[in-house]
Amino acid sequence: MITHEHISRLIESLSKARPNVRFDISGDSLESQTVKVKENENFEQTASQRTSALLRVWTPAGRIGVVQVTSLDHKQLLSALDVAAEAASLGPAEDLPSIPLPADAGTLPELNSTSAGQPVSIEELGTNLLAAVRQLRQSHPDISGVPYNALSQRRAQRFYANTEGLIREQNGAVVSTYLYARGQSEGHKPRAAGHWGEERSMQSLDLSAVAKTASELLVSHLKPIKISSGQYPVIFSGRAFLDLLGAFSNLFSAQNILDRQSLHTKDSLGQQIAASLLNVADDPLHPANVSPDLFDGEGTAVRKLSLIENGVLTGLWHHSVSAKTFGVPKTGHANVGAKMTVRPWFWNVSAGQGLGDAARDCVWIDDLEALHAGVNSLQGSFSLPFLGYRIVNGRKESLEGVTVAGDILSVLKNITALDSSCERASGGVCPAVAVSALSITCEA
């Protein structure tokens, strides 16, 4: 793994070899182990160690060149610096970032808990996962297998450094799992459902609970019904709503607004874009975020940012260039590449007063599927298959062959209720969200 001293020495030696070149380097060094259990209970095991880094060079002519590499070898980095300098003359000429200065990068936040457990052996990973897979498989006679499953432990070191003296470095460890099972009740089509878990160490990951939830979910979908296609009141589970928000994240990207690739414009800030009960923030240091990043791709310290308050658009994700254009401080969301973009860290959708009667008669959407295919973020429209239920008078029955279609701006404006507690999903926390009506199609 790379140490702070290693990064310092690297910058020093590269600067010595190219004394008049201003540059930064960001990247990560990653080690991971993953186990999967096959249907015959053999293990599929993989391990990986890799480094990736992005070099940016500021030329005297005021241009920037960017090169991505997979080695921190001095000789190869020198060569990359030269390529970047050459590429700069042919690259973008406008809206270029300045090299980040330590004084503008903010103070790194301190984490409440940085404790990462010791890694376990891959044998232990396998034993633990096999037990969970067996538990899930044996939890119901109609569950026939767990075709998609994995347990991974990963250690990563992120770094940022530049010739102006800004150096950032962060270690992190994550253990994650998913269990996706398949089952079939007599007279019905096969169904599949699953659950996931993520913690800082194997010791704190409750695999049995993940298996139990996956089983309960799948069993609840084994005897699905069909419904007539039409308009229904809909409730998105917290994770489904976060998936939808994530698919339309260009709504909150200052860069996308500048690129005219957003449904919003600069003037949208301060406008009512959602029902007044909706409050959304990007909250990288939320306690539920098990692997928080402390700095962005420009080395800027992350912080909580309000995006929607009482339905009003209050904030956008910025990197240094978009912040300068908008005349606001940068927000610590830079995703650095040949073109600077922004990225969210951890969604925090505030809980509301409860779903009330909305939950007694609705279509409940547990999981949205095929987001890569069914979302048109430039048009704001979506048409997505989902795993969910029809709830009538509080009684719920699983649905099969269903899709939901709509428009994200309408969804945000037609929110009628928010659950009183939040669900933790992989990218944030969010309550169940009720929407007045959406189009549901059911396969005949």
Binding site: T46, Q68, A84, G91, Q118, A192, A338, E369
Partner: protein
Amino acid sequence: MRPLLQRDFESGFSNIKAPADGPFNEAWRPLLSLILGHARRSGADFAEIFLERRNTLRVTTENGKVTAVAPSFSLGAGVRCFKGLQDVYVSTNDLSQSGLRWAVDQALGMLGCSARMSHSMGRDVQLEPLRDFAAARGKDNWLAQTAGVGEISERLLSQSSVLRKKVGHLQSDQTSAFRDWQEVLVAASDGVFARDIRLHQLSRLGVNCADGADRSSMHEQRASTGLPDFLKTVDMNPVIDEISTSAGIMLRADYVTAGQYPLVMANRFGGVIFHEACGHLLETTQIERKTTPFAESLGLPIAHENLTAWDEGITEGAFGSTDMDDEGMPAQSTLLIENGILRNFIADRAGSMRFGHPRTGSGRRQNFSFAAASRMRNTFIAPGKHTPDELIQGVERGLYCKKMGGGSVGATGEFNFAVGEAYLIEKGKLGKPVKGATLIGTAAEIMKKISACANDIELAPGFCGSVSGTIYTTVGQPHLKVDNITVGGRS
């Protein structure tokens, strides 16, 4: 923090070094032979090393300006070891002797083999003479023959300029191109020793139109494998005409009404339906997961009798073509379905070992960090005898899907596809445009509803994401008719 992956092997391993910079060639033989021999002596029944070097370039323009020039260089290796039918995979981007030795020892340790017991010099694996597909086909100069940043930028800016003149209500436009040059070397304990160079290039245009509340977006791409001057010569003018027309039409389109429709699907990227709904289910990885309904269907009818389908890696210039797969096997053409009867599966080494299906040169991966898996290459439905007009004329009321978006198939064979451009068919003629359609169904059922194929097969490049990452593929088909399918939309 204690490292996850220990480097605690003993010293004393042979001091044969990894070759310095330069192409993957015979100079790698001594080290790879030694490491593979070490793996075999340590108890692995089979071992394979995959070396990869990559040089990529992406250039993007947005709204008439170059906004990104992104060169990238990567180097990596993957080691796969089998003991019986059990296998493990370790990847690293350290191609030094110690880096490769670390990777193989990790793999051996994960297999339960005792790597430390095997330091004594023993017999190395005898690799075959290098089968150099790159040298044999004159690929070593390909990289030097490709377009440079300046030429690519100039062409993209010119395309952007034309787009901005031709497309009405244009809100934003994007043109981009990439070049992905990849050199690979495969060495395995059964003697396989093979090298290849691949060159994938793509040019893409996209527009986003808006007029009040009406919005449309269109993109289209052209791509090639193994044509060094592709980005210098590809004619994007027909593509510009195509997307400017489509974007204009779809800007005013109404949302489709959900329901059951007979369907005529256009050629080219329409083939994504077969790729997703059936192709994936014929990969041996799906047999292993028990996620295909066709595992026991070899020789049995699984599709309409009018349907024949192929997967192959040999069509010159096609995006999924490859001279050898990532396990060193030469490409071939594989008949999947013949007049509705399942004839072959798509098999890699592991799939062949585990299920007995013959290898088809289909072991593919995104890069060194993935083990190869059975994956599609150029996959298409064979042409039939009808004309496209005949198919449309045979539909009283239905849907014509001119441009498909992406799609996916789940663990139960349920699939869905987004439709980018569609028209109602009324009394055998194309009617008004509609948007927002999603095609929904299950693989086993839809294959029996593809009842007629036209005579106008065309291929289209695409990307496929699955167990071994995202790879270059081609989909294709003639116009075809689906008797009945569920269309999701807005009621």
